[in-house]
């Protein structure tokens, strides 16, 4: 495991160094253009300062902002004991000292994500729709995938790379806009200098514009490469933690085939954090590999289902190679000579009746999370009262008893 984390760090650091170089080069070229031949260094400093400030902000409160933006509510064990237990099981399997905090998002689209820079301060959030559709084994697979993100320090890398990408986009946007307006307003300023200076300025201008257009694209490609790679690794880690690749595979299948509308709270910046891309597009599976934060789900499922010999990283790597015909995604240094046997399914398929019962429970979980009060009348009718209900008593419509509405 530690081997894998180390190899992971190395790969990510290479990708991030490339991104940093793109950022610094962009700063340098813009500086060169704005402040003249000696200004390159100055531009470099400004780019670094902007990047540092954004990094500090995202590190100090990034995960809290993200959780709040997704509408996730913290839950205790009594709201959903099974979810709580499954997270605890995976914490034990991963040998983590402290359990991540658990959040539920009141959204019917099934999805999940993990946040937090360190394993000790991490959180896992799942949507109510996920709880409603998955059985225990599938839920375990999803949580194991998220747990792998946490122990691989993926959140740290994705956040840092995301901030760097943001800085690059920001810089080039400011520059291109500034260019546009200043060239509209006062053309003279540029032509009034010496003739040689003018030519140099034009040359710098062209280089800077090209850089400002290319840099965000380059950075984005690097970012996508980084986050896609980490999805595969988290799948491999998830399969190894649970010893049951089919759980995650069938969870991914259910999530992919779900008819619910896309997750309301997701945006482009947070997309790589989710277990599957929250943006549903027609024909997403066929989209170019280069422009997606997630590998195609069908491929992830095929790889997991091809793991017939065992659940170790080596087995995932073999399945990956035989499925995609690419060379391994898992660093070879993490292949210990371990034998990891696949265990059997722990649960039979559920009947339709139970599924609807499960959906009802999910509805109730969403209501508990949203502050509903539950009343049970003696006649058997259940009343679920929303937090903005004003009266202090209700009359049961079935047996006409008067019931008190407890104040929260």
């Amino acid at each position: 495991m530690w081997e894998l984390i180390r190899a992971n760090k190395r790969n990510s650091i290479i990708l991030m160094t490339l991104m940093a170089m793109v950022l610094l080069l962009l700063g340098f070229l813009i500086g060169l253009f704005i402040f003249g031949p000696e200004g390159g260094f100055f531009g470099l400093v400004i780019a670094t300062v902007i990047w540092l400030i954004l990094t500090l902000i995202s590190f100090s409160s990034g995960d809290q902002i993200f959780l709040a933006a997704s509408g996730a509510k913290p839950v205790t064990k009594d709201v959903n004991p099974q979810l709580f237990n499954v997270v605890e099981e995976m914490t034990i399997a991963a040998g983590m000292g402290k359990m991540p905090k658990i959040y539920i998002i009141a959204d019917p689209a099934p999805n999940a994500f993990a946040t937090g820079r360190k394993p000790e301060t991490s959180s896992i959030a799942v949507t109510a729709g996920l709880l409603g559709r998955l059985n225990r084994d599938e839920l375990q697979g999803v949580i194991a995938h998220e747990m792998s993100h946490i122990i691989n320090r993926d959140i740290l890398f994705v956040t840092m790379a995301g901030v760097m990408l943001g800085t690059i986009v920001l810089l080039s946007q400011i520059f291109l806009r500034g260019m546009f307006y200043s060239s509209m307003g006062s053309r003279r300023r540029y032509s009034s200098g010496g003739k040689g200076g003018g030519q140099a300025a034009i040359l710098f201008l062209i280089i800077a514009i090209i850089a400002a257009i290319l840099a965000p694209i380059m950075a984005q490609l690097l970012y996508f490469a980084l986050s896609r790679r980490r999805e595969y690794l988290a799948d491999a880690g998830g399969a190894r933690l649970t010893r049951y690749p089919e759980g995650l595979a069938s969870a991914l299948e259910k999530i992919a085939n779900d008819p619910s509308p896309q997750l309301a709270a997701a945006n482009k910046a947070s997309a790589p954090m989710y277990i599957v891309n929250p943006f549903k597009k027609k024909g997403q599976m066929k989209l170019s590999d280069l422009t997606s934060t997630h590998p195609p789900i069908s491929e992830r499922i095929r790889i997991l289902r091809n793991m017939t010999h065992g659940a170790s990283f080596k087995d995932y790597s073999d399945a990956y190679t035989s499925t995609t015909k690419h060379k391994t995604i898992v660093p070879v240094s993490s292949f210990t000579k371990e034998q990891v046997a696949i265990r059997q399914a722990s649960e039979k398929a559920k009947s339709q009746e139970l599924k609807s019962k499960q959906m009802r429970q999910v509805g109730d979980i969403m209501r508990v999370v949203n502050g509903f009060v539950f009343l049970s009348c003696v006649c058997g009718l259940k009343l679920k009262i929303p937090p903005n209900f004003k009266a202090s008593t209700v009359k049961c419509p079935r047996c006409k008893r008067t019931l008190e509405v407890p104040k929260q």
Partner: protein
């Protein structure tokens, strides 16, 4: 000439000291890594212990709830109670592993029998106990899995060069894997909610 010899001597001396310092640092580093790994093994072991205790604590409740519904299953209950007593009384690791294996077997048999009692399966209290039991069984097997991973890692480390030298110097001994006797018990017991 004399000054030249002195310089060479000084250089050699500094080189030797530098190598020694590096060596000491390497020894400290490896020693610390070994301690860290050994602590991880110990932590993993205590986690198994915690989960086994949890299982022992759950059983009386479970039987109490089930008894009201299952009138003809005295043998099943007795098997569980006896296995629990044996597991709690085990004095060494080998005995404990054997007794816990037997207890796991008795519990999975019990959960199969439960299938014949639909009333019991509709009982909310029993359902939540059953979820706790399933989860505890999972936690036992996952903590065992983690313990064995850590042991493998630790044992590899103390056998490999150069950490084997330091392990020998400070008396780091190999650890045993936690294997459960009954081969069928290697899998998580099948618990069904139907």
């Amino acid at each position: 000439m004399l000054a030249g010899a002195a310089t060479i001597f000084l250089v050699v001396l500094i080189a030797i000291i530098a190598v020694l310092v590096l060596l000491i640092f390497a020894v400290i580093g490896i020693y610390n890594a070994l301690v860290r790994l050994r602590n991880q093994v110990d932590n993993a072991w205590s986690q198994i212990d915690v989960q086994l205790k949890r299982r022992h604590d759950l059983i009386p409740n479970l039987i109490e709830t089930a008894k009201g519904y299952m009138h003809h299953e005295r043998e099943t209950f007795e098997a569980i109670t006896n296995a629990r007593a044996a597991a709690m009384g085990a004095s060494n690791v080998a005995d404990a592993a054997k007794a816990e294996g037997a207890l796991g077997g008795a519990l999975s048999k019990f959960l199969l029998v439960v299938e014949n009692y639909p009333d019991l399966k509709a009982n909310q209290n029993f359902l939540s106990l059953q979820e706790e039991l399933t989860s505890t069984e999972n936690k036992i097997s996952f903590s065992r899995q983690n313990y064995n991973d850590q042991v493998l890692f630790f044992n590899n480390k103390i056998q490999m060069f150069p950490s084997n030298i330091i392990a020998g110097m400070f008396g780091f001994g190999k650890r045993d894997f936690f294997e459960i006797e009954n081969a069928a018990e290697r899998e998580v017991p099948k618990v069904s909610f139907n």
